[in-house]
Symmetry: C2
Subunit: 336 residues, 2 copies
C-alpha cells in the first residue's frame, strides 16, 4: 500500500493535479467548494506532502543543522550543549523546523558535514559553535553562502551573523565582588585556551585584577579531572589564592571536593565561583556562588536569528544578556 499522492486525490475528486496543488496550498485558482472537497479527500486518505518533491522545486528543507566537534563523552557531562539545544528546539518547534545533529571529531569533518548538508539541500542554514581564533570554519561557511548564525563573539565571526554575550562584564562583576569581600589573591581555572570566549574572559580577568589583586590563570579541558588537578596545584602553592573562579560547574564541584580533601574550608579559607549555574551547583555543600545565565534562551535567540536569516532578512550581531552573579554559600570574606 503506497503513500497517496496528489494524483490519487485528483482522480478521486475528478480534477487535475494542478487543482489539487492549488487547493492544498491555499492558493487562488480553485473555487471554495472544490477546495473543501479536495481537502476533505486529502484528509480522508491521509495525504502528506512529499518533502523531496517539494525540495526539488526549490522549497525550503525546514531544517537547520548543527555539527558538534567535541568528544562524545563530554557532551553527556557538560549540560551546556544540551541546554543550548533545548532552547534552539523551542523556537524551531514553533515553526515546524527540525534540527539535524551530528557529532564529529574534527573541524575539518565539521566543515565537510556542513558542505554535504547544504549541497544536498538537507538544511536551510546552520549554527556554528565553539568559535576559535582565526577559525577556518568561518571562511568555509562564508564560501558556501549559506545562512549561518555563529554562537560566539562577533569580532571573530567574519561576515557571518553572531549571537554572543559579554563575558567580560560578568568577569568584572565577579572580580569586583571578590575584591569587596577582601580577596587579594585570585585564581581562574579556565577552559580551552583556543576558544575565543576563554581568551576574552582571561583578558577581562587579568585586566580587572590589574593593580588591585594578584592573579593566576590555569587552562584545562573542562573535565572534572583537570579541574581537580588544577585546584590541587593552586592550593599547594605557597601563596595560594583565597578565591578561585572556575569556567564551568563541573570543575567547580571537583575543586570544592579537592579543597575539602585538603582540609581547606570553603568559604572560610577559600571562596569558589562557578561559571554557569546548574542544579548541581546548588546541590553541593556549600552551594556554589555561580554566574547564572539563561542558556536555553541564548539558544532560542540564535535560532530566531537563523530563521530570520533564512527568510532573507538581514541580521545584525546580537549581544545577549551577560551572566549575572548569584552569591551562595561558597563565597565569603577573605580571612585577614
Amino acid at each position: 500500500m503506497k503513500r497517496p499522492t496528489i494524483a490519487d486525490i485528483a482522480s478521486r475528486a475528478g480534477v487535475s493535479k494542478v487543482a489539487v496543488s492549488y487547493a492544498l496550498n491555499g492558493q487562488p485558482g480553485v473555487s471554495e467548494a472544490t477546495r473543501a472537497r479536495i481537502v476533505a479527500i486529502a484528509d480522508e486518505i491521509g495525504w502528506r506532502p512529499n518533502s523531496a518533491a517539494r525540495a526539488l522545486n526549490g522549497a525550503r528543507a525546514n531544517c537547520v543543522g548543527l555539527a558538534l566537534c567535541r568528544p562524545a563523552r563530554i557532551l553527556g557531562v557538560e549540560p551546556f550543549f544540551m541546554e543550548l539545544i533545548s532552547g534552539i528546539e523551542g523556537v524551531l518547534a514553533d515553526r515546524s523546523y527540525a534540527l539535524l545533529l551530528q557529532v564529529v571529531t574534527s573541524h575539518q569533518q565539521e566543515s565537510e558535514v556542513y558542505r554535504h548538508w547544504w549541497g544536498e539541500s538537507r538544511i536551510d542554514g546552520a549554527f556554528l559553535v565553539d568559535l576559535r581564533y582565526a577559525d577556518t570554519r568561518v571562511a568555509e561557511l562564508e564560501r558556501l553562502d549559506m545562512p549561518v548564525v555563529v554562537i560566539g563573539h562577533s569580532s571573530e565571526s567574519g561576515s557571518l551573523s553572531a549571537v554572543w554575550s559579554d563575558d567580560g562584564e560578568a568577569v568584572r562583576e565577579t572580580v569586583g565582588y571578590l575584591r569587596a569581600l577582601g580577596h587579594r589573591r585570585l585564581a581562574r581555572v579556565a577552559g580551552l585556551p583556543e576558544l575565543v570566549h576563554t581568551t576574552e574572559r582571561d583578558q577581562a580577568f587579568a585586566q580587572a585584577c590589574e593593580g588591585v589583586a594578584e592573579h593566576v590563570i590555569v587552562h584545562t579541558d573542562y573535565t572534572g579531572e583537570e579541574g581537580a588537578r588544577a585546584t590541587r596545584r593552586l592550593l599547594s602553592s605557597p601563596d595560594r589564592p583565597t578565591a578561585i573562579v572556575y569556567d564551568n560547574d563541573i570543575m567547580a564541584v571537583a575543586g570544592l571536593s579537592v579543597a575539602q580533601e585538603m582540609r581547606v574550608e570553603v568559604p572560610r579559607d577559600l571562596s569558589i565561583v562557578a561559571w554557569d549555574d546548574s542544579p548541581l551547583a546548588q546541590v553541593v555543600r556549600p552551594p556554589l556562588t555561580a554566574l547564572t545565565r539563561d542558556i536555553p534562551s541564548y539558544g532560542a535567540h540564535a535560532a530566531q536569528r537563523l530563521l530570520a536569516l533564512i527568510s532573507g532578512e538581514s541580521v545584525p550581531p546580537y549581544q545577549d544578556q551577560a551572566a549575572v552573579l548569584t552569591p551562595r554559600g561558597s563565597t565569603g570574606p577573605a580571612r585577614p
Copy 2:
C-alpha cells in the same frame, strides 16, 4: 551562483546525464577513462547529489529520527539522553547517517512528528524512548510500518524491535550487596512510575527485599528537588532506612546533601547508591557507589539495530549488558 547538477557535469564532459549518473554511482555502463574524467569534473565544480532528487526515486533519506518528549530543561540536567545520543551518533556517523532531533511536549505530538517525518520521506527509521505501559505510540508506529527500534523492555514494544537491559539483575545485585553489609531497612527513590523500567526496577526491588529486609519505594520526577524532598521524608521517619538507592545520580547527589544537612553521616549512618554513574557521582564527597552502565554503547547498539532494520534485515530483541555495581565511599556496613 547555483548549485551544480549532473547536467552541468554532462555538458562539460560532453556526455549524457545518464553516463554521469552511472559514473558517479560506480555502476557499469561507462569506460574507466570516462568515469575518471567525470569524477574529476564533479570534484572540481564541487558537485553533491541533491538528496531531494534521490529521495524522489525512492532512495534512502540517510537519516533517522528521534523525538524526545521531555521538558527541555530536564535534558540539560540529565546526562542520560545526551550520552545516549552521543552513542547513537557514533554509529550513524560511520555510515554517514544523520540524526533528526525534535523536542516535543506531548506523546501525541511525538507520534505526529514521526508521522510527518516518515510521510515526507525525511527519515528511514526512528527510535522510541521512555517506553510506558500500554504505550499508544507503539501502536501508532506499528501502523506506520516504519523501521523502529524501541529503547526499552521488549515485553511492551509490541511487534517493534527492542534494545533493553535487564534492570532487575542490577537491582538484585545491589540489594544483595547492601544485605551483605548488614542493611535491613532499604529505600528506593524511584523515577516516574508510568515508565516501564521504573516498574521493572520497583518489582525487582520489592522481590529482592521480600522476607530479608524492610523496604519502601518513593516515586519522583527525577529532579534534584524531588530527590531531596523524598530523602528528607525518609530520614525523618521513625524507622528510617539505613540505605537508599536512587534512580539517577542527580537525586543521589541531592540526597547526599540532605543527609549531610541533617547530620546523618554517609556512609556511617546511611549508605547511598546511585543508578547511573557519572563524573558527578565520583566528584562528590564521599564518592557515590553507583550502578555503572555504558550508556553510549547502549545507544550504539540501538543504532546498529535500526540500521540493520532499515536495510531489511530482521532484528530480534537485543538484551544489553546489565548495569554493574561500582562500590565507592558512599556505602558501608550498617550500624548494629
